[in-house]
């Protein structure tokens, strides 16, 4: 994506330059607003020319996203944004391509394409807005809804198990897996920037509050009282430490993670697990910190936020020999004629 990073001749773009003139039509209070504004601000920081950005979405509340951006954008069909973006990526190495999707769009109807996009590692950034509900269709449960959740289609409580998106992404072979949340804007913006900078498919799950149909789904991770004890911010090279007074830590006991209380002096900070984004085994353990918020106790593992895993590996499009337009134009007419002629031909007189 080198070209997308070229410095501009004109005055630097500001965040609002990336906003389209369309009126944003999400419900007031929806978490989508915060994500949109962090995205615009990330693009401004990255100085990506507007015409070099293509945002592809599927169907759902989050998929209205392209309309609000003054860039190229396609609001495609349900679940297929990843497939659409694949064709664009394979033919246009010069663009900065973003897929904006949701838990229904990207993990239910579009689960297959998501799996294969991650597996192939095309250079595409996926922003998966996870609100654990179908918002646009007015409140049915989604593949990430919590067990027991009462919705229009589960009036007496949901009996499905929820999908773990990060474990899914790692299982599919994703080379960049991260989690952010609408309410932590600066952290989210940094994750968006890191997604762009990653060469390969970046899978960024963003917890997004749907205040209409699933309000408070993430309140445990955002509430003043509960947040610090139930979340952990991952930073590469730093120990896994959390809690309102940074009193808890996580260490590895063999292959098992263990939550410890640093106050009881049995363990010190030096015993803790140091986060290493490049370690796939540790990443898989972190992705498993997935207790249902309703069942979390003082001994549960906190929900991790940040970059869980990042690996430099060749992209699909780099592995394939790419024939640019230039080679195309250098093909002489003779070549095509030779092709049509084939190996053996004869003359009829």
């Amino acid at each position: 994506m080198a070209e997308a990073n070229q410095p501009l001749e004109k005055a630097p773009l500001r965040s609002k330059d990336y906003a389209s003139s369309q009126m944003v039509r999400w419900c007031p209070g929806c978490g989508d607003y915060a994500i949109l504004s962090q995205f615009q601000s990330a693009l401004a920081i990255l100085e990506i020319p507007k015409e070099k950005v293509a945002i592809i979405s599927g169907i759902g509340c989050s998929s209205r996203f392209p309309y609000y951006m003054n860039t190229y954008g396609v609001h495609s069909i349900h679940g297929r944004a990843t497939a659409f973006a694949t064709g664009l990526r394979l033919t246009r190495p010069d663009l900065s391509i973003w897929v904006v999707t949701g838990d229904g769009d990207g993990l239910a109807i579009g689960g297959n394409h998501m799996l294969h996009l991650l597996r192939r590692n095309l250079d595409i950034n996926v922003l998966l807005f996870n609100n654990q509900i179908y918002g646009l269709t007015k409140g049915q449960y989604s593949p990430t809804s919590q067990p027991g959740l009462k919705t229009k289609t589960s009036p007496s409580g949901l009996s499905d198990y929820p999908l773990n998106p990060l474990a899914f992404a790692l299982g599919a072979g994703a080379s960049f897996v991260a989690r952010g949340i609408d309410r932590d804007s600066k952290h989210l913006r940094n994750l968006i920037i890191a997604s762009h900078q990653h060469k390969g498919t970046a899978f960024l799950e963003i917890y997004q509050n749907c205040n209409i149909f699933n309000d408070g789904a993430f309140s445990l991770f955002t509430g003043k009282e509960t947040k610090l004890d139930h979340t952990i911010l991952l930073e590469s090279g730093q120990p896994l430490i959390f809690g309102s007074e940074k009193q808890y830590g996580i260490l590895l006991d063999g292959h098992l993670p263990k939550r410890v209380d640093l106050n009881n002096r049995q363990y010190s900070i030096d015993d803790l697990w140091i986060h290493d984004e490049k370690d796939i085994y540790k990443a898989q353990i972190l992705a498993r910190f997935f207790d249902a918020p309703g069942e979390m106790t003082d001994t549960s593992f906190p929900r991790p936020f940040g970059i869980i895993y990042q690996e430099a590996k060749p992209c699909y499009q780099d592995l394939q020999e790419f024939h640019s337009k230039e080679t195309m134009e250098s093909q002489s007419e003779k070549d095509i004629q030779e092709l049509l002629k084939g190996k053996s031909s004869w003359i009829v007189e």
């Binding site: 389209s20 369309q22 020319p49 507007k50 015409e51 070099k52 950005v53 293509a54 592809i56 979405s57 169907i59 392209p66 309309y67 951006m69 003054n70 860039t71 190229y72 954008g73 396609v74 609001h75 495609s76 069909i77 297929r80 497939a83 659409f84 694949t86 064709g87 664009l88 990526r89 394979l90 033919t91 246009r92 010069d94 663009l95 297959n112 394409h113 799996l115 294969h116 394939q320 020999e321 790419f322 024939h323 640019s324 337009k325 195309m328 134009e329 093909q331 007419e333 095509i336 004629q337 092709l339 049509l340 002629k341 084939g342 053996s344 031909s345 004869w346 003359i347 009829v348 007189e349």
Partner: protein, 616 residues
């Protein structure tokens, strides 16, 4: 040496049949090559076993190759066989019903009729080999091919298996003698094929000659056949399959339009060969993508088209069904896209290896909402090239998805092909939008006189816009739920497709007078059989004509005038009467269907007798 008489034949159909391992495809190909060089017109069709690795000697393992050649114009790979070559009992059993009742020659390898082979072919009376062969009406030539092959290789150092494997060359040699052909072309081919295997070359050449001289010296074979040169248009020719022809059309369109070709597809019979062929053409600017499913294939092709490539996807019936929603997206985005549908027997998984024309209505109407898409149909392997080229031209110049219908019968069939000169093809005009002059807003859905919107690709400064599957506002392309705007846009999309009729050739008569008793109207792979049947009836003095549709949506101009110039219109189709519905709907004419839905092409004799009934 006995006196042999030479009988002149106008056309002959030969079927080579044997076990998968008997080399019948190669025998057929070599015979075909020799036939082409002898100046005959021809058409061929392979008949692969339906199982991947069926047990040796069983009817499921029979592989065949059919070639129809003549001194007159050859339109199809032939119906019933004049000659059947059966290398074993199973090949004989599974092909006998297709042999002409009178005057046909059956050549059997008696070594493939031992009790083991008869049992594997599930013949009841496995001990008396020929008890069940009805001999009346046939010329039955029993030749111990395997034994004679081994005798010819008596002093060869090859192993027994390798020796036996040469037996197809004996058959080829014998048939070359039987049809008065020269050996040297086939020898040249063997020399090329076995360049690096001198011992196999020596053996195959020896057996080929042995077969030829066997004909010449054997007392019992007193007649040879001669098929004279056909009157083909001058030029350079090559052999081509329908698949290759389609692929070359796409690549030529990419080359002429200077648009990189992007082909995305998911494996499906019988369309997979298109992907196999295109993968090998990366040097021509072709990008291929084997997607995770049919939906991803088409969506990625739309993505490529959005980015400014020539986006193409290919599939067969069940795959087309899966692609329908995305076709609607392409129609709504008004982006160029070509969708190849190589039809097969349906519904559901149906008859994957058999031919059918039953996806016509799906191609025309199988989408939600009012969603017109141009539909073109390939009539035969030669013309697949031109149809594919034209589909790309229409897609790009009219900013629309285009469906091309072909079928397994066309794609797997092969014919001699007059090599086209790309310079003589009409150009494909590509106009990418550029930033408008200062102060004027870019309107992604502002149509030109033909109703076509501009193609603005990402990366172009000043043209940033957002589009999608939601209804568009006329001009701006913004989301619009306005009732009048929706009606306007539905009509505009239809008008854009209808206008294409003014850019394609008017409907023409293929053969026959411009008015008369019967018009036989067809589309797709019935072209050859209709042409043959009409030619025969014309030669018998009937007032009959053949018209064939290459464009089914929109229908070409002048079709109505043509249809009304005949007392009756007969429409033969390998489906339950789908074009019939279209013609009745558009022209309110009482057309007569001739439907055959057996997973096989229509036979000339059957068509002739059906038409004859309506001529009286």
């Amino acid at each position: 040496m006995s006196e042999t008489e030479t009988i002149i034949k106008e056309e002959v159909t030969i079927k080579f049949a044997g076990d998968s391992g008997d080399g019948m495809q190669l025998t057929g190909k070599l015979f075909t090559e020799n036939t082409a060089l002898a100046g005959n017109d021809l058409a061929t069709f392979p008949d692969f076993p339906s199982e991947i690795r069926a047990p040796t000697g069983t009817v499921w393992g029979v592989s065949g190759f059919q070639v129809h050649f003549g001194s007159r114009k050859i339109n199809t790979p032939g119906d019933q066989y004049d000659v059947l070559v059966a290398m074993n009992a199973a090949a004989f059993k599974s092909n006998l019903s297709m042999v002409k009742r009178i005057g046909a020659t059956i050549i059997i390898n008696t070594d493939g009729f031992d009790s083991r082979n008869l049992r594997l072919a599930e013949y009841e009376n496995a001990d008396s080999p020929f008890a069940h062969i009805p001999l009346e009406g046939y010329e039955l030539l029993k030749i111990p091919v395997t034994k004679l092959t081994k005798e010819a290789l008596a002093d060869s150092t090859l192993g027994r298996k390798d020796q036996e494997r040469c037996k197809n060359m004996f058959v080829l040699g014998y048939l070359l003698w039987k049809y008065n052909r020269r050996l040297d072309n086939s020898i040249l081919f063997l020399e090329e094929k076995f360049k690096h295997k001198p011992d196999l070359l020596v053996a195959n050449r020896k057996v080929l000659k042995a077969g030829f001289y066997f004909g010449e010296t054997n007392e019992s074979f007193t007649s040879r056949y001669q098929v004279d040169e056909a009157d083909l248009p001058q030029g350079r020719y090559r052999g081509i399959t329908g698949t290759e022809s389609l692929v070359f059309g796409l690549v030529t369109a990419s080359h002429k339009s200077k648009l990189p070709l992007y082909y995305a597809s998911y494996p499906i019979t019988p369309a997979s060969d298109i992907l196999h062929n295109l993968v090998a053409l990366e040097d021509y600017g072709v990008k291929t993508f084997q997607a995770e499913d049919e939906i991803a294939a088409i969506c990625s092709a739309i993505g490529a088209a959005y980015g400014g490539s020539l986006g193409i996807t290919g599939t067969s019936g069940p795959g087309l069904a899966l692609k329908t929603e995305a076709m609607g997206l392409a129609a709504m985005l008004e982006l160029p896209l070509v969708i190849l549908n190589i039809q097969r027997g349906g519904p559901s998984t149906g008859l994957p290896t058999k031919t059918e024309q039953a996806d016509l209505l799906m191609a025309l109407y199988g989408r939600n909402g009012e969603c017109p898409i141009p539909v073109l149909a390939v009539p035969n392997p030669s013309e697949a090239f031109y149809i594919a080229y034209e589909a790309c031209k229409i897609a790009v110049e009219h900013m629309t998805p285009v469906i091309v219908l072909s079928d397994g019968y066309i794609n797997n069939g092969a014919v001699p092909w007059k090599i086209p000169n790309p310079d003589e093809l009409p150009p494909i005009q590509v106009k990418f939008a550029v930033a408008p002059e200062n102060g004027i807003d870019y309107l992604p859905y502002k149509r030109d006189v033909n109703g076509v919107r501009p193609w603005a690709i990402p990366g172009t400064p000043g043209l940033m816009h957002q589009i999608g599957g939601l209804e568009k506002e006329d001009g701006t392309g913004s989301v619009s739920y306005d009732p009048d705007n929706h009606q306007l846009m539905v009509k505009a999309r239809q008008a854009k497709v209808d206008t294409i009729a003014d850019f394609v050739p008017d409907q023409k008569i293929e053969s026959g007078p411009e008015s008369g008793d019967v018009l036989v109207l067809g589309w797709g792979s019935t072209h050859g059989v209709i042409e043959s049947a009409v030619q025969q009836l014309l030669s018998e003095g009937h007032k009959i004509a053949h018209a064939h549709l290459r464009h089914i949506a929109p229908l070409p101009n002048k079709l109505g005038t043509i249809l009304n110039a005949y007392k009756k219109v007969i429409i033969p189709e390998v489906n339950n009467g789908q074009l019939v519905k279209i013609i009745k709907d558009k022209f309110l004419l009482p057309v007569i269907p001739f439907s055959q839905i057996k997973g096989m092409p229509i036979f000339k004799d059957e068509l002739v007798s059906f038409i004859t009934k309506h001529l009286s």
